[in-house]
Symmetry: D2
Subunit: 128 residues, 4 copies
């Protein structure tokens, strides 16, 4: 996420927003933001949303995600929203939405997805 | 893909391999390659595999993909393999596999997914 | 759907509700409704939701769907809600939710998913 | 599965085959087998494949699956193949393929998917 230049702009229980400014490094030849960057901030938003419902020493790992790319990611920035649909003892399921924002106001849903995460002890690398 | 430093290493009809060397920029604090990079090269491998079965002036866009992250992406490089399962007039469906390769030989399946692509005219941005 | 005994209970532009009564034929040994039935009514709800935005002579086919099973489908009936997220010329993307309803009031989200559909001419069998 | 009339025809470690004969009850108006039935036997094949790698008293529950419907399911019967891609302590990931078989020989891949399962104690209903 830091590699991409994204940052968390809102964090509430079960819901996290991440913003990625459109920069040359994350954009394609057509000028829209690369699907890989779109997916990455969606995945991160879901992961952080899951964490908001756990004690501080917990970590989560993405088990899987599915994402539909609905429209070209054209705009001044992208906003990814991760929302917890189900927070279980072991698994968390999140909805992921990504909007492109232009001129500070026009919002277009450019990607929508769903994600499964697994809770792990902070010290363990991956417990699936 | 160029942003990530990945490159195509094999291209056959319906099957494309992409290799991404482990570098600091695409790695996490634990030393393994970031899920975003893993997904991005998987997505690219599927997209290029779809293109191998079309005339030169065609383009494809990712409609959606789903990926399971199976193991930590630890290794000297990742190899993503995109394989066409069904090549239709409008839609193509691909399998995506990502292996981590260590010491030039040990291969671990670190991600597995499935992807739907739509064929577009080379000039159109997105026709979904 | 008729095989399962499900029926449409609400149809608005871009949103369709389908209800399936819990019967022995669609239930498992533990008493909850089978995942196959849950998925089937979710898929149908999305498909009908897509159709509400097309002229009468159109048909849609499911290209793919992904569904998370969140909780045991225990209740008097299941309600599946299909909602169009993006209605394109060729492809439609829907959200699918399934709730279990007990005692006419208690609602539990038992499944959540996402679906891609393709528009076809009413006479053609499958145009992917 | 018994409701649909499907049966296991092959069971090896990490791989299970299930066959569903084309019958009027599981078919659509166009004569091909309903997507709901296709998905259900794919899901079952993956679930049983996961179980082959666990002790007898274990059960698995489907966390989520994603399936692409590639071609009309036309044939004398469908054969679903579930194959374990990763068998972990908690989670199992399977590939699901469904073939339509006509005249005892012609095989067409009609669906392909991917599934995540969670291992549970035999007595617990759902532990996600």
């Amino acid at each position: 996420m830091t590699h991409l230049g994204a940052q968390i702009t809102s964090m509430a229980p079960g819901c996290v927003h991440i913003v990625l400014a459109a920069r040359k490094e994350v954009s394609q030849q057509h000028g829209y933001i690369h699907a890989g960057a779109t997916s990455a901030i969606a995945d991160s938003a879901g992961g952080y949303a899951a964490l908001t419902l756990f004690p501080e020493d917990c970590e989560v790992l993405t088990v899987e995600f599915k994402i539909n790319l609905l429209a070209p990611a054209l705009g001044d920035h992208l906003e990814a929203i991760g929302t917890v649909l189900k927070s279980g003892r072991t698994l968390t399921v999140c909805r992921m939405e990504v909007y492109a924002v232009r001129d500070g106001a026009v919002r277009t849903l450019v990607a929508n997805g769903q994600q499964t995460l697994i809770r792990v002890n902070a010290s363990a690398p991956r417990a699936s």
